[in-house]
């Protein structure tokens, strides 16, 4: 049974007629689920996950961190359809420590203590994930989990309906500003031109720099775009 307040929100979404995916009331949904932030990742056909909507001041940083490390619960939920419930990232006996070495500590450093990632899918078709976090540790209640599953399923339906509608009317599924990591892609392209390489290689260089300097990927990308940071192909940065 989906929470009645959330049901109202979702009903309103059904009537969204503008271009692109309707803005989801993620902040209100996070409140109801007892969380401090929620994000929607799209990863159709197991593509690299893209954050397209978010609420909460730490959601972007949490996703950025997993992009730098190339691992984490959000990516596994979005790309592999795995349900990931981490009620306490500081619990060193939990499987997260073995599964993603180095990640739980870095998440804790963001002042995030619990992470919950719900796959957004229809049957076997993976579309993305709904990711939530809390600054205080502890499991979600059964009711909260039931609501989160309902929300993830409803979002899957909305995505399918939006994409089907977009196909009919030739509008874009993702309206501006869609991608929260757009600057990372821009910096990737700029770096590819500088290094005369392809974008895959450039993104690895960008991530490598962020990882080794323990910086958010988005900050590194902004430095590249502002020409404050040049990365050569030997891994040496010059400012």
């Amino acid at each position: 049974m989906i929470h009645p307040v959330m049901a109202d929100y979702l009903r309103a979404l059904g009537t969204h007629s503008g271009p692109g995916l309707a803005p989801l009331p993620l902040a209100a949904c996070a409140d109801m689920l007892g969380l401090d932030g929620l994000g929607l990742l799209l990863a159709p056909g197991a593509r690299p996950a893209e954050l397209v909507q978010s609420s909460g001041e730490r959601t972007l940083a949490l996703e950025d961190l997993q992009r730098v490390q190339g691992q984490g619960p959000s990516l596994e939920a979005a790309c592999h359809g795995a349900l990931m419930l981490l009620p306490d990232v500081a619990d060193t006996s939990a499987f997260a420590v073995e599964r993603w070495p180095g990640l739980p500590g870095a998440i804790e450093a963001l002042d995030v203590r619990a992470v919950f990632a719900f796959p957004v899918r229809i049957g076997v078709i993976a579309l993305g994930a709904l990711i939530g976090h809390r600054t205080r540790p502890g499991p979600m209640s059964t009711d909260e989990l039931a609501d989160a599953f309902g929300l993830a399923d409803t979002i899957a339906q909305i995505i399918i309906a939006t994409a089907a509608h977009a196909e009919a009317s030739h509008t874009l599924v993702l309206d501006e500003p869609g991608l929260h990591f757009a600057e990372v892609h821009q910096a990737t392209g700029m770096l590819a031109a500088q290094l005369d390489s392809d974008c895959d290689h450039a993104l690895i260089r960008l991530r490598g720099h962020a990882f080794s300097h323990d910086r958010p990927l988005l900050d590194v990308a902004r430095d590249v775009l502002a020409r404050r940071l040049y990365l050569d192909d030997n891994g040496i940065a010059s400012n």
Binding site: P44, R47, G189, M190, A193
Partner: protein, 269 residues
Amino acid sequence: MATENGRLWEGGLRITLGGEWGMPELPREEQLAAAFVDLADTLVQDFDVIGFLHSLAEHCVALLDVAAAGVLLTTPGGQLVDAAASDERTRQLELASIEWDEGPCRDCFRTKRQVPNVPFATEAARMRWPRFAPRALEAGFTSVVAAPLRLHNQVIGALNLFRDQPGPLDDSQLRLGQALADTATIGVLQQRAVSEQMTVTAQLQTALDSRIIIEQAKGYLAHRRETGVEEAFSLMRRHARDRQMRLTELARQVLRGTADPSLLERPRQ
């Protein structure tokens, strides 16, 4: 279409039930169960609707007291197409039925109901289907019934069951034929729903890819033109508009370095 059906028909011979193809005879209950399982099993990789409807036709011939079975499907536009038949003479007959726009399948589809037993060698049959009834007699058939492929109000086609012996098809057998048709209908509709969602997912993938490629191309061009990202985007948009190109395609060319030099290179002062 004929060769394709022929090929699929050969493929269909793999589905064997009972002693028809020299296999040991299964008890009837097992044959029935196997038929329903087969017709419910549509969520497989490389599912082929035509092959699937061939199994429906074959199961009907194996399980019912009929000589042949044919299946017609409707396109979304309401056009009937021949989908499957248990043998070549039946397929020819179905094709003729579509061409002449008369026969049991057409009637079944129009009325959305079963067409009860019609013996071909009667005045009534000749009045109802002036061309189809004599052709069916020529093909060696004595009578026909037709069952709609129906779920709720949606009719997606019809199943024809032909006899070559005197007398009508038993009521209980007709009910079984309808049950097989119903199961097959659910299978086809399920497959259609899945493939529609697959299409939508592919579309979503393309949309996401396009967005990422455009962002990357903005950065690439900003470096080449020694300008900002927003200015690079304006240049790309103008270039695409002037040449009536899709922005995504231009972005790909930019990233490959194959875009027009007038876009990639900074104009010399």
